[in-house]
């Protein structure tokens, strides 16, 4: 009996959660999705346009190409964002003025026009610090900020992240092609990987006496994650939000990230501040915001953490003759060998490619400038 107890109590309290897909009714709904914020500071502004997809469609992303995207100021000013591929519309420096109101006008290739409400370009206080703690589940990264003017109150954070990875085996060889292997010390040993925030991170001090955000969590790096195998860096960007924008993002977060408890709220429709002028009944996903962005970069080094990243690697001894090599490459790659004389290799040590070549793990060989 005692052996059974934990099992069914687990089932009971952790619930029994498993992957499941209901057959969804086909829907023709295809709405415009507008993502991005106008940077009223010195940074670039990118607005990304896409279309919604069917839930079970294999396509990951349907960019809205060839649209004309302009920012209009209440003062009559106008700025153009130019297409930069994958549905992105870009301007390196809009030069907006904080306190002024701006809106976004979009004309799609099928001649539909979309217009946002006017939004005020908000000033954003600086990030005080980005810190982290080890928790029971992993490493939690937090942001701390405050607004001396006590006027921001609502915040949103996005980040770019970079982490260094190193191959399990430091290779002395490079597999060139065919059966040719050449000597190449430290070949593809260090790489860098990049990511962006995948959750909506928002916070509010509206209920506090001071406009102060204390340790708002922005990211949990689970134990054993590759991100902290060597060194990790996060560039955290902060923007102030209006209350309405905050509520919009909060609802989007509730709808899409925090379901799955017994006490789930009902998912509900999102209503943003962008409208279709041509067909007012058509919904638009997204909420245009404008703010000065502030940012801060931090580094976390694995050595300080007693982190336990483990890559499962092993090697094979492969005789140095074309037939043997051909049998193993390119899924296995050489990293060492047995030399009977300098340059005369009798056996190569070969390991799965991902253990030798860090680009096989999605890494980039160029060290970023800030590293």
């Amino acid at each position: 009996m005692n052996k059974l107890l934990p099992i069914f109590v687990l089932l009971l309290l952790a619930g029994c959660k498993d992957r499941y897909d209901l057959v969804l009714k086909p829907s023709d709904t295809s709405l415009l999705v507008v993502e991005g914020a106008l940077d009223a500071g010195n940074g670039p502004t990118t607005i990304r346009l896409s279309k919604t997809l069917k839930v079970n469609e294999s396509l990951a992303f349907s960019p809205e190409l060839n649209a004309r995207v302009t920012v209009e100021g209440q003062d009559g000013s106008s700025y153009t964002l130019s297409p930069s591929g994958l549905g992105r519309y870009f301007n390196s420096h809009l030069g907006l003025t904080t306190g002024q109101e701006y809106r976004l006008r979009i004309k799609t290739a099928d001649n539909k026009e979309y217009l946002s409400d006017f939004v005020r370009a908000l000033p954003t206080p600086a990030i005080d610090s980005v810190n982290w703690h080890k928790t029971e589940d992993g490493l939690m990264v937090y942001v701390n900020t405050h607004d001396p003017a006590q006027s921001s109150r609502y915040y949103k954070w996005d980040f770019d992240e970079t982490w260094e990875i190193r191959s399990y085996y430091a290779s002395d060889f490079e597999y060139v092609g065919g059966t040719e292997i050449v000597y190449h010390p430290m070949y593809r040993f260090r790489c860098w990987k990049y990511g962006i925030s995948q959750t909506i991170n928002i916070g509010s001090s509206a209920k506090l006496a001071e406009d102060k955000i204390n340790e708002a969590p922005v990211l949990l790096i689970p134990f054993g994650s590759e991100k902290l195998s060597v060194r990790y860096s996060m560039l955290l960007k902060q923007q102030a939000l209006t209350k309405q924008a905050y509520e919009y993002f909060q609802l989007m977060k509730k709808n899409t990230e925090t379901l799955g408890t017994i006490f789930d709220p009902q998912p509900s429709e999102l209503k943003g501040n962008i409208h279709c002028v041509t067909n007012p009944a058509e919904g638009v996903i997204g909420y245009l915001t404008a703010a000065e962005f502030t940012q801060k970069r931090i580094f976390i080094t694995a050595q300080d953490l007693n982190w336990s990243y483990q890559q499962a690697c092993y090697y094979e001894r492969v005789k140095n003759n074309p037939d043997s090599i051909r049998a193993w490459v390119p899924s296995y790659l050489p990293f060492g060998g047995e030399e009977i004389a300098p340059g005369v290799v009798t056996y190569y040590y070969m390991a799965p490619a991902a253990c030798v070549d860090c680009t096989k793990r999605g890494g980039d060989l160029n060290m970023p400038s800030y590293w």
């Binding site: 896409s50 962006i196 989007m252 017994i262």
Partner: protein, 916 residues
């Protein structure tokens, strides 16, 4: 004056006895009635008889005499009866009952006086303590009223209590039935009954749940009290006796009433093996739930807050423990339950859908007894006994959980969870005398849990009430009650010191009510009374926790209101076959100051931009008033003795609303009073039912259909914020609803195999019809409510292998509940996300579950000090993963669909109980 007459009377009787004649009688009288007997004697002798034919109508004479004097003949003829006679000098024979009061004085002179005397005698007796018959023997014949003064009233009232002979506790819903007239009544929650009978001899049949069916011989002369002590079925804990309502289902006027006693409840397997009132309620036709982790229940398309849950008259706002896995009612203390789905008596009000009335035990008045039980998650201890023998009794019980050790066994992060709950009851009953009974009830419960997060939730119920039941006369009965009901919750979080907070919510409710019952005559019974409730709500108080917290206190101002009602209902027996109950309840609701109310521009959406006036009201000011009548009508027609047709119409109003945008009842749901912006909910229901009993009432079948309209039900705007909202009216939408359905049920109440099978078809659809809502859910079209589950088939079967071993099987199938699923997907914020549109357009897969349990009892030796029993079983026998919800969530950049099941496998359980 009386004394004088009485003496004269006695003197005259003595004189009469000496004046005898010597005529002889001969004859054979073969089972003839008294009148014929007297006629025969008159025809062959000089005697002339004076008697009241009505008094003697049931007297038969069987006699053979030869040349006997008249005294001998009459003595023989009426031997063993109470008939007395007197003979005067003029050969006049005066026949009477009980006392030979008949006079030899000129009849015309004294007869009236004599009857006056006797009326005064009765009056004297009733003014003092009326003699109470205590009925427990089936062999004796009991007399009610005074034999010498047989009432000429055809409508004699007999009242009394039906009690358990062993414990002195009342037997609720026992049927007291006069065989000869086919007239029966049920005892009320105090075990009290009132039967109207014409004078005569009867066999009174008494059937109580768990009690031995008993028959008593009764001769009724006049009004009186007859208390009945029933013997328990000796193996009462074990057998499956559900016989109390053998005829009640056909005879009662009400529709949609379900009654269950604890023995039936105990049989139904539950997840941890502990008998659970709410789980069993969910097996009844017309009752649904959104899922297993919720004790919220939905009756005939009503939402969970539209049920009035009463425990000994106390309103329980949160009837659940431990994430809804347990109900808040200690099963060892519950005596029985009643659920009113359709014909809600006029004395109840304030909720739209149903009344669940839970009666607790009154306590053993003779001996101290108790029970203790232990299961996987809870332990419980209960004790009851007399404080003053046969007068005052108490019941006390407590229950607590020790689930934390189990939670520690879970893998991380769930091993950091904590959950605790307890509840405790105390009831005292004092019977001051036959006319006055006092009842005191107290209840407290608390829950605390933390699911591996930095937030701790806690909630508690506290209830206290005192009831005084007073019999003004055998015709007028009253119950006066007053009490306090409290519910509060607290959420607190202290991990982030800057944001550490507590959030409190509370309801305080002060009640007073009085219910009168007046028995006008055999065909008319009146119930009337009044009730008033004072509400004080603390809708939200957000406070800093700890010195470093920067949280600004945010207090939503308290709300207060007075809800009062007057009611009058009459039960009219038009004929033995047709009965009608008609009731009117008039309810008043005053929303009271102090408070600030926002008024919004007419015809515009209620939002902060459309506030035209924000008005302050001082303490005690009436801010606004709602009032209106509610009608409760029902009729029953018996087509044949085993087949009845019933119809009913009910309307109800509800002034307090639970605000919840979660599917299950959450521990953070708040309640809101009606105010100038939130109108009371109103419901109207018509229903029709057919009831047929088969096989000598051992199988009860019924079909009920209903149609219901709901007005001003509260639904929520997308993304509504309900907690700490100072103007919650801007986030809710008044919605109308329609519900309809049919319930078919077959019940077998006795025999080795018993149980019930019910099928329910029901729909509940909602529509946001408020024209000021810019963006109504589903474009203003009808949409199913969260708990709309059209088909439901439930079977509860018990098989008694022998007296000590029984098996139970509970199976249920229902349509999956509606959910909102994505209509599309988009990429935003570094992740795929889903897009929602029409609410509740999909359904989760159908629900099926079978539970099995075995009840094993120790021996039955009556004199043994303790009796024990085991319950073993398996919940969700087939291990089916019944989804509680299906949802899509963005994880690591992708959208994944999941199914959340509360119980994903078969769950064994074991429970041990000991009674002493």
């Amino acid at each position: 004056m009386f004394r004088l007459y009485f003496i004269i009377l006695l003197v005259c009787s003595a004189m009469a006895a000496t004046a005898q004649q010597d005529a002889r009688i001969t004859g054979r009288f073969e089972n003839i009635d008294a009148a014929s007997f007297f006629k025969q004697i008159e025809s062959t002798s000089p005697y002339y008889f004076y008697y009241d034919a009505a008094q003697l109508k049931d007297v038969r004479v069987q006699l053979s005499v030869s040349n006997q004097p008249i005294q001998k003949v009459l003595e023989q003829a009426f031997a063993g009866t109470d008939i007395k006679f007197a003979i005067d000098a003029q050969n006049r024979v005066f026949i009477s009952r009980k006392v030979a009061v008949s006079t030899t004085l000129p009849a015309g002179y004294f007869s009236n006086t004599a009857s006056d005397v006797e009326e005064q005698k009765i009056a004297l007796q009733t003014a003092g303590e009326r003699p109470v018959n205590k009925v427990s023997s089936e062999v004796k014949t009991y007399e009610i009223g005074v034999k010498s003064n047989q009432s000429t009233d055809k409508n004699i009232i007999i009242t009394g209590y039906v009690r358990n002979e062993r414990s002195g506790e009342p037997v609720i819903n026992a049927v007291v039935f006069a065989d000869q007239l086919n007239v029966g009544v049920q005892t009320d929650q105090y075990g009290y009954y009132r039967l109207n009978l014409p004078p005569g001899s009867y066999t009174i049949n008494v059937q109580g749940i768990g009690m031995k069916d008993s028959k008593y011989n009764v001769v009724v002369y006049g009004p009186g009290q007859m208390d009945i002590d029933l013997k328990e079925q000796i193996n009462v804990l074990k057998t499956v006796v559900v016989s109390a309502q053998k005829v009640a289902n056909l005879k009662q006027v009400q529709l949609g009433v379900e009654r269950l006693n604890m023995d039936a409840i105990r049989r139904v397997p539950t997840v941890f093996g502990e008998a659970d009132v709410m789980r069993v309620v969910l097996t009844l036709p017309g009752v649904k739930t959104v899922g297993e982790a919720s004790t919220g229940f939905n009756v005939r398309g009503g939402s969970a807050d539209q049920n009035l849950v009463l425990m000994n008259g106390a309103t329980i706002y949160n009837p659940s423990h431990f994430f809804g896995m347990f109900s808040a009612f200690n099963p060892e203390l519950v005596k029985d339950i009643e659920l009113y789905k359709s014909s809600i008596p006029a004395k109840y009000g304030g909720r739209l859908s149903s009344v669940l009335d839970i009666n607790l035990k009154e306590g053993n008045k003779k001996n101290v007894t108790g029970s203790a039980g232990i299961g996987l998650v809870t332990g419980r201890f209960n004790i009851e006994g007399p404080l003053a023998k046969n007068k005052t009794s108490f019941v006390a019980g407590a229950r607590s959980t020790y689930a934390n050790w189990l939670l520690k066994l879970l893998p991380t992060p769930y091993d950091r969870s904590e959950a605790n709950f307890y509840d405790a009851n105390l009831s005292i009953h004092h019977q001051a005398n036959n006319k006055n009974n006092f009842y005191l009830n107290a209840y407290t419960s608390e829950d605390k849990f933390n699911l591996a997060s930095d937030t701790t939730y806690g909630y508690s119920n506290q209830n206290f009430n005192i009831n005084w039941k007073h019999n003004f006369s055998s015709k007028l009965l009253a119950v006066f009650s007053t009490g306090i009901d409290k519910y509060q919750y607290r959420v607190h979080s202290d991990k982030n010191v800057v944001n550490a907070y507590t959030l409190d919510f509370g309801i305080d409710q002060y009640n007073f009510k009085t219910d009168f019952s007046y028995f006008l005559n055999l065909d008319h019974t009146l119930d009337f009374g009044l009730s008033t409730i004072r509400y004080k709500l603390t809708p939200g108080s957000f406070q800093p926790l700890g010195d470093e917290s920067l949280v600004v206190p945010d207090i939503v101002p308290a709300e207060q209101a007075q809800e009062s009602a007057l009611y009058l209902s009459e039960k009219f027996n038009v004929s033995p076959d047709l009965s009608i109950t008609g009731g009117v309840r008039y309810s008043f609701f005053n929303y009271l100051g102090p408070g600030t109310v926002n008024y919004y521009a007419a015809g515009l959406p209620k939002d902060e931009n459309n506030v035209v006036e924000s008005k302050n009201y001082a303490a005690g000011n009436v801010i606004n008033t709602y009032h209106g009548p509610e009608f409760r009508l029902a009729a029953r027609y018996s087509v044949t003795p085993s087949f009845s047709v019933k119809a009913g119409y009910n309307s109800l109003r509800q002034y307090i609303h639970m605000l919840s945008n979660t599917t299950a009842i959450a521990p953070t749901d708040i309640w809101k009073l009606s105010d100038p912006n939130i109108r009371p909910q109103q419901g109207d229901q018509v229903s029709l039912g057919l009831y047929k009993n088969l096989k000598e009432n051992t199988i009860e079948t019924s079909v009920e259909v209903y149609y219901k309209k709901i007005k001003d039900y509260l639904d929520y705007k997308p993304g509504a914020n309900l907690v700490l909202n100072h103007h919650v009216e801007t986030d809710v939408v008044s919605t109308r609803g329609k519900a309809y359905g049919a319930e078919v049920s077959i019940k077998k109440t006795t025999g080795k195999l018993n149980g019930w099978l019910s099928y329910t078809y029901s729909r509940i659809l909602l529509q946001m019809d408020d024209s000021t809502i810019g963006n109504p859910v589903n474009g203003g079209n009808w949409y199913p409510a969260n708990y709309d589950k059209p088909h439901d088939l439930t079977a509860v079967l018990n098989f008694k292998v022998n007296h000590r071993f029984s098996l139970s099987l509970n199976t249920t199938y229902s349509t999956g509940r509606p959910i909102t699923l994505p209509i599309g997907r988009f990429y935003y914020g570094g992740s795929q996300r889903v897009l929602y549109s029409d609410r509740n357009a999909y359904r989760i897969p159908d629900y099926f579950r079978a539970d099995f349990s075995m009840n094993i009892d120790g021996n039955y030796k009556v004199n043994q000090r303790t009796h024990n029993s085991w319950t073993l079983g398996v919940y969700n026998l087939t291990g089916r993963k019944n989804p509680f919800s299906v949802y899509y969530v963005s994880e690591n950049g992708n959208v994944n669909g999941y199914r959340l099941s509360i119980f994903g496998s078969a769950i064994p359980f074991i429970n041990f109980n000991i009674h002493f």
